[in-house]
């Protein structure tokens, strides 16, 4: 597997990473559709509540049925990630235990109580509770799933930008000093908004595709036409919103993870007035020679846009990979040390931690302990760099970040266009342009395009996660714990076996889900 896209070799750490990536990617097939369909079925039921037209109730029930299939297939797939933490990533789990405990416990309780209560009312309560209570339950089911996502994203955001914590050298754990700082960190808020709103795109694309299939097959015309209108509004709002929240997320990355931004852009040497790369000749299979090449070959860029994206200023300073490795000073006078210096200070922190723990065991006096703690605290912000043998270990694998970012943004632009056209065609507005197009009588290839967009929406969403997670390599916790230190001391064979076991199980489960979904789509809505 050497050098195949992710630079995976046979070591335990890379097998553990591959297994985690596989599980997370599989888990993420279900979550965005749950979040997206929740909005659309909520809107359909709201229309029923407003009009009492049984068509809307049947439409809501149809989308709720597909929501239920996806929900059932996704249940508990995330738990496997927690198992992997405990087995493969034990050092990392110990390091973060106190921080992750609260958000994950809240997530579990909220998910269990909110979702199990309101999902039951949504499915079993149509004739048993009042329409208002049922409507509230439908929206609260979606809200419960969204709140669950919040806590998971809080945990993820903390790994990308650790805040509200203090490292305790006695317990070897990061201990929470401010729950609010962790729960409401700007990184978590930005990540939540971008992730949830982009999930609505998948729900909208899915609904548009199923509806287009019905129109293609000349059946369920009213359901398809009305659902397309809702999907087009939700999808256009979400795809524009994903762009706006993505801009905010990009600025946070520029602040907290400049190396990730440099890798996403294949920006070897930065500076002021930086352009945003539209495309460049970056081989997807090997790390480019960022040391010797002045910039990515055959680069086509939008002038000044990277500076604007990163700093809100067309002339802003954006550091490149070599700037970050060698250290730099911004035009405002802010100096960032070189990675070599960070490695040196990280080693001082590690040595101080070792000495502190040894001295404490030997019953050393307070002054000796305090001396070591002072050195540790002074250098703690670079603790993780102390584990590096070479500064180039701080550079993530550029090609995957570069291309995954472009796939995500490129498809995002296609979705904006798609939903804008879908909205215009479904309302036949403006009349001068669209009056002649009846959405129920278009040539088949129009509907096929909508169906093809479903896998593309998933590719865009997964690409976003690939940028987020591979871009922060080598860190499991930013600047604190690199992957090779976070893993357990286990033989790679066991994790390789479970990797292929998961590959088989996940493929089987996905085939089962798609099969059930397709059968229910073919069956169509039930009339009550």
């Amino acid at each position: 597997m050497n050098d195949l896209l992710l630079n995976i070799d046979e070591s335990f750490v890379d097998w553990a990473r591959a297994q985690f990536a596989l599980t997370a990617i599989y888990h993420w097939l279900f979550v965005p559709l749950t979040l997206g369909l929740a909005v659309i079925m909520g809107i359909c039921e709201t229309r029923w509540y407003q009009t009492r037209d049984t068509f809307w109730r049947d439409t809501a029930m149809f989308w709720q049925r597909l929501f239920g299939i996806n929900f059932a297939m996704g249940v508990a797939t995330g738990i496997i990630l927690e198992f992997e933490f405990g087995t493969n990533w034990s050092n990392y789990s110990w390091f973060v235990g106190d921080i992750f405990g609260a958000p994950l416990a809240i997530e579990g309780i909220v998910a269990f109580f909110m979702e199990s209560t309101f999902v039951a009312v949504m499915y079993f309560g149509w004739k048993k509770v009042s329409p208002g209570f049922h409507l509230a339950s439908t929206w609260l089911t979606g809200l419960g799933a969204t709140i669950s996502a919040w806590w998971i994203l809080v945990a993820n955001a903390w790994m990308q930008c650790p805040v509200g914590c203090e490292f305790n050298p006695d317990t070897m754990r990061n201990e929470m000093t401010s729950f609010l700082d962790v729960a409401l960190s700007p990184f978590a808020v930005g990540k939540f908004c971008h992730t949830v709103i982009s999930s609505w795109i998948i729900g909208a694309v899915f609904v548009a595709a199923v509806s287009c299939w019905y129109l293609w097959k000349k059946r369920e015309e009213r359901l398809a036409k009305e659902s397309i209108k809702i999907a087009a509004w939700v999808g256009l709002f979400a795809s524009l919103g994903a762009g706006a929240t993505g801009h905010v997320a990009g600025q946070q990355v520029a602040q907290s993870q400049p190396m990730k931004l440099a890798a996403m852009e294949a920006l070897y040497n930065g500076g002021t007035d930086q352009g945003l790369t539209a495309v460049a000749l970056i081989s997807p299979f090997s790390q480019p020679d960022y040391i010797n090449e002045p910039s990515a070959p055959l680069k086509i860029e939008m002038p000044y846009f990277l500076s604007m994206m990163a700093t809100n200023d067309f002339h802003g300073f954006v550091p490149g990979i070599n700037d970050i490795l060698n250290g730099y000073t911004t035009p405002e006078g802010k100096t960032e040390p070189s990675v070599d210096e960070k490695i040196s200070r990280g080693r001082q922190a590690i040595n101080a931690l070792s000495a502190y723990r040894k001295a404490k065991k030997e019953g050393a006096d307070e002054a000796t302990l305090n001396d070591q703690l002072t050195i540790l605290n002074k250098n703690m912000q670079y603790f993780g760099y102390g584990f590096m043998k070479d500064k180039h270990q701080a550079v993530p694998f550029i090609p995957v970040n570069f291309w995954a970012f472009r796939i995500m943004v490129g498809l995002g632009c296609i979705f904006i266009l798609f939903f804008a056209v879908l909205l215009a065609v479904s309302y036949q507005y403006p009349k001068q342009l669209f009056a002649k197009y009846d959405i129920a009588a278009l040539p088949a290839w129009h509907y096929i395009i909508a169906i093809i967009l479903v896998p593309l929406a998933y590719i865009a969403s997964e690409s976003g996660w690939i940028v987020a997670e591979l871009g922060r390599q080598p860190w499991t916790i930013q600047d604190m714990l690199p992957t090779w230190v976070g893993v357990s001391n286990i033989d790679s064979t066991s994790v390789a076996v479970t990797f292929f076991l998961f590959l088989f199980l996940f493929t089987l489960m996905l085939a089962v889900e798609i099969n059930i979904l397709l059968k229910q789509i073919k069956k169509g809505p039930e009339r009550h």
Binding site: R65, G68, I69, A72, M73, V75, A76, I79, I80, F83, E84, G86, T87, N88, S90, N91, S93, W94, F95, A120, V121, Y123, F124, G125, K128, V129, D170, T171, M172, R173, I350, L353, S354, R357, F387, W484, V485, S488, N489, I490, S494, V497, T498, L501, L505, M509, V512, I516, Q520
Partner: protein, 68 residues
């Protein structure tokens, strides 16, 4: 009491009249069995609990981390 009865019958009637739900619940239960009774037990032991003495976990992690 009346409310409890209503809640009971909401679930009781709901489960009794399930159609597609039966298949989905069967899949969920099989999946939970695989996850908790097979994967967790045989493939995903807690590494620290297995290798560190109780109360000595911090020392164990320190040894693992600082030896890198």
């Amino acid at each position: 009491m009346n409310l409890l009865r209503k809640i009971y019958y909401l679930y009781y009637d709901g489960f009794r009249h399930m159609k597609l739900g039966r298949t989905l619940w069967a899949i969920i239960l099989i999946k939970l069995f695989i996850i908790f009774a097979i994967l967790k037990v045989f493939f995903f032991p807690n590494y620290i609990k297995e290798h560190a003495e109780k109360g000595q976990e911090a020392d164990f992690v320190a040894e693992q981390v600082l030896s890198n």
